[in-house]
Amino acid sequence: MANYGYGGGYSTTSYGAQGGADGGGFMGGSQGGSQDSPGGSKTYGKDTLRPVTIKQIIEANQPHPDSDFKIDGAEVTQITFVGQINSISSQTTNTTYKIDDGTGLIEVKQWIDSDADPATSKPQPQEGDYLRVYGRLKSFNNKRHVAAHSIRPITDFNEVNYHLLEATAVHLYFTRGPPEGAENGVKSEGGMFVDSGLGNSAVAGGKKLPAKITGIARKVYELLQSEPQNNEGLHVNNIAQKLGVPSNEVFKAGDVLLGEGFIYTTVDDETWAVLEY
């Protein structure tokens, strides 16, 4: 599952750096990350980053205090959203933005990095600016806020529309399951839904591959389904030649498919056919 480890390392540095490249990222944002570490260990490894609307944040439920928030029945750890600044209040330790995305209002707190060099600091966001926020949902005295890891200004407003559509798609994924024609039986532990659009072509035989079957394995499976063959299936070298990929890659792909029970070996270990039942 290492592929899906949206772990702690995902948070501050990468987005901070990205924001910087855009000329945004008002501060390095490293402090926000360390503030959040106490809760980090228990959810480490299943950390996800979910696009949400502010209405979803306000309506997220918390089964009991200190537990993770849930949206559409799925635990949320890190969230991201886009919204417009309604008001800004600067305190000694943090800056609090009231953000409005048209669906609701939420406070976003960004801790001030006292070590930051004032000479290199980015311009502060203004009221009315649109921001992209990455952070964690917190509850303090029954009042919710988002502790921001990273904040950057929106410069291309298509991102506002993009975000709202992405949040809708993810909401529908959790409430209605994967889209028609995509995968059934995906182990929905969060974070994997982004893959679902990729491999929809591999449904030729009616059997659907889970999202984790990717790349060459998917191609091998498609070929085995579509290629005319006798009941002995196809030999590895034959597959490699038809797909134009090295046979060691085909072997790896075959191992994955064999392990998942999508194909089986026929006359020898190197000849495979689609397992149909």
Binding site: T53, G128, H171
Partner: protein, 108 residues
Amino acid sequence: MADPLSTPRLTSPHLEHFTSRTIRLVGRVTQLRGETATLDSDGVVTAHLNRDAHLTVGNMVEVVGKVNSDLSVRVLRATDWGRDVDFEAVKAVVDATHRYKEIFYGEP
């Protein structure tokens, strides 16, 4: 202020269902005359501007405003979105807003 903290996104055809509510609307500025602007948002919309609004003809603008009974919009805040915003995406968002309103807005 009780609920409508939400400002539902819509286009011109939805205005009649949202009179006296505060809404969000994206459109292209087609005309500017003093305190009044004409926007194209899947239909013509008349916007009554406030003093802070700085619109540019030809640009897309997002307005937050209240829908009057004559279906014009009294602008509370206007944000210039520039020229390069895909209006198809805007329409898709409006469609999603009303189709899946559970994540976008509540009834007043």
